[in-house]
């Protein structure tokens, strides 16, 4: 078999190495023919049987998913069940079979299509997504009627690597971790739903290979390397040995890091810094804690507003914030108020077309203009504050007036709640996100008014370099180590400390191994990053001395280019061979 192996490269979606047999997940061929039936009554019975079997499957799935992944994921399948129990669907299909003497497959397909096109035509993203639910659930019944095998990721009984064109949310929610060792898909990117799910389930995954489904036949032996984004088909014995070793090393490394979960982050010279997690929804808290987060440094509240057809109510928001605060206990939770606009839009909020959305009507600018939205969120936050250690952060602050106005509105809402006897914490810190160069330059003035700063480097770098990092032609200008950026960071951190205020960072830079020594030397107090970066960062910081890092800062800030800074850190501090 020597030399027969085939290598396919994709996007690394979730770390880890898996070796196993491929399980090709393809949508079953379902050809719907319209056939006249003689005995309509027994055809109705056949339809009812298929319906019952599909419902029984879904009930099983609801129970399992609820137990393994929580109520939110289980709701997807509860919604599917409700569609199968809908009398408008069921009775219309039965009526069609009886009156038109047509077969169940064709009757169901026609009625479902009618509902699907009804929902697809609606002027609302949420409703259009319901069309996908109806399609998904109809297939389940059709598969029983046609006697084709409808794959149930939950029904596997041996270890496999799933190979698919793409995985739907309903597929991924059903993956059974005992048997699914990894998955590879044709389409998708690092932030697609299946990739995010793979990371939260800690299943190695490679997505976006484009060709995997055509290259693999069932039971092909597959090696999947989620670190490199590589898939090897029909590997040689040497390759199997190599990756088996890599798998063991990875497991060992992981076990080593896991020892650090409950250990505070202490530098080699005994300074404590806080390592916190960036989260996007209450469901992310479990992963943050499992990875040893000492707090939440950024809770993006946009998820509450996305994928629905109207603004969330105060009560809905209150429950989500309370859930996060309670699960974090005494640990600090920084919640950022609504940051929409820019590239994030809501289907139910009319936003003007803008020439430069990133320099336009977004975040605090929108909130101060649409105060009813802002006040609803602030009331929900204030009410939730009684349940934990809440800190409130305003995004995209450019001027002092914006901060003072936002804070005054917060105070008004607080008084209002207290006057009606609602419990509100007395120790809520209020801070700003530093992502606009104007605010970074004026940090000394802001520091007299705020309780903390959190530096949002993703936007700060883009605004400092005037370069959109999503634009491939100028993405090279997105330079986190550029001395211009580092000088702004020093200005912010020194300004905060001179007023006794703590300074954190919640951009991707906070978890970057090359940036960490510099940030430590600059005196950053809190590093907030994706949960999976926390333990490696903790290990790195425990080996670095803050005082020693501080001695490198003057030299670094005098350099002329980002490349010089990067080379200096790698050679002098990280002692890498480059």
């Amino acid at each position: 078999m020597q030399g027969m192996s085939q290598k396919i490269v994709g996007v690394k979606a979730s770390a880890g190495v898996a070796i196993g047999k491929a399980f090709l997940l393809t949508a079953p061929e379902m050809e719907i023919k319209t056939v006249a039936v003689e005995d309509a009554a027994s055809e109705v019975l056949r339809f009812e049987e298929a319906l019952e079997r599909a419902k029984a499957d879904l009930q099983q799935i609801v129970l399992r998913v609820e137990k393994e992944m929580g109520a939110e994921q289980a709701d997807i399948f509860r919604a599917h069940l409700m569609v199968l129990e809908d009398p408008e669907l069921v009775d219309t299909v039965k009526g069609k079979i009886t009156e038109e003497k047509t077969n169940a497959e064709s009757a169901l397909n026609d009625v479902a299509q009618m509902f699907i096109s009804l929902f697809e035509q609606m002027d609302n993203d949420y409703m259009r997504e319901r069309a996908a639910d109806i399609r998904d659930v109809t297939k389940r019944v059709l598969a029983y009627l046609l006697g084709v095998n409808f794959f149930q990721p939950g029904s596997l009984t041996e270890e496999v690597i799933i190979v698919a064109e793409d995985l739907t949310p309903s597929d991924t929610a059903q993956l059974d971790r005992r048997y699914v060792k990894g998955f590879v898909t044709d389409i998708g990117g690092r932030t697609s739903h299946s990739a995010i799910m793979a990371r939260s389930l800690e299943i190695p995954a490679v997505v976006g290979t484009q060709t995997i489904t055509s290259a693999v036949t069932p039971s092909t032996l597959v090696i999947l390397d989620g670190h490199e984004g590589v898939v090897i088909l029909d590997p040689s014995e040497e390759e199997i040995a190599f990756y088996t070793k890599k798998q063991a090393e990875y497991a060992e490394q992981k076990a080593e890091l896991e020892k650090l979960v409950h250990v505070p982050t202490i530098t080699a010279d005994q300074h404590h810094v806080e390592l916190a997690a960036n989260i996007g929804s209450p469901a992310d808290v479990a992963g943050a804690l499992a990875n040893g987060a000492e707090g939440v440094g950024l809770f993006r509240t946009e998820f509450l507003y996305m994928g629905r057809d109207d603004f969330p109510t105060e009560e809905e928001q209150y429950l989500a914030y309370k859930q996060v605060l309670e699960s974090m206990g005494e640990k600090p939770v920084v919640i950022r108020t609504l940051d929409i606009g820019g590239d994030k839009h809501l289907s139910y909020l009319d936003m003007p077309e803008e020439m430069n959305p990133f320099l336009g009507y977004r975040a605090i600018r929108l909130c101060l203009d649409r105060q009813e939205l802002f006040r609803t969120q602030l009331r929900a936050l204030l009410r939730a504050s009684a349940h934990g250690n809440l800190k409130i952060m305003f995004p995209m602050i450019a001027t002092l007036e914006e901060f003072l106005e936002a804070k005054a509105i917060l105070e008004e809402e607080k008084k209002g709640l207290q006057n009606s006897g609602v419990a509100v914490s007395e120790r809520i810190e209020v801070g700003i996100m530093i992502e606009i160069p104007a605010a970074a330059m004026m940090a000394d003035v802001f520091a007299q008014e705020v309780d903390f700063f959190s530096i949002g480097t993703n936007d700060l770098i883009q605004y400092t370099m005037a370069a959109d990092r999503m634009n491939e032609r100028v993405a090279y200008l997105y330079q986190p180590y550029h001395p211009a950026v580092l000088r702004l960071l020093r200005n912010v951190i020194e300004a905060g400390h001179s007023q006794g205020k703590w300074v954190g960072m919640c951009g991707e830079m906070a978890g970057d191994p090359v940036a960490i020594p510099i940030l430590l030397g600059l005196g950053l107090d809190e590093f907030s990053m994706s949960a999976s970066s926390i333990l490696p960062a903790r290990k790195q910081i425990s080996q670095l001395s803050r005082a020693e890092m501080a001695q490198h800062i003057d030299a670094i800030l005098q350099m002329g280019t980002s490349a010089q800074v990067e080379a200096y850190v790698k050679e002098t501090i990280l002692k890498e061979d480059i």
């Binding site: 919604a79 569609v83 809908d86 009804l118 929902f119 609606m122 409703m127 319901r130 629905r308 109207d310």
Partner: protein, 86 residues
């Protein structure tokens, strides 16, 4: 048969979760349940029918129940439609 005109108070109307909740309550009764919006009638036990009729907050609808437990059904469903939460 019991009929009642109700102005929907649900903050987002009968969408998504509230619609599912309405259907859950409706199907717990034996009576036939109908919602009339202007001249359109939908089956109160049909999640797709209700979502497709897009009933908003502040809209007046007629709730109709017909069967052995029609009084209880109207009372329970009225409570759902008048709820301020959801």
């Amino acid at each position: 048969m019991v009929e009642k005109k109700i102005v929907v108070q649900l903050p987002h109307g009968l969408h998504a979760r509230p619609a599912a909740n309405f259907v859950k309550v409706a199907t717990s009764f034996a009576s036939e349940i109908k919602l009339v919006k202007k001249d359109k009638t939908v089956n109160g036990k049909s999640i797709m029918g209700i979502m497709a009729s897009a009933i908003a907050k502040g809209e007046e609808i007629t709730l109709i129940a017909d069967g052995v437990d029609e009084n209880e059904a109207v009372a329970a469903l009225e409570k759902v439609l008048l709820s301020q939460e959801g």
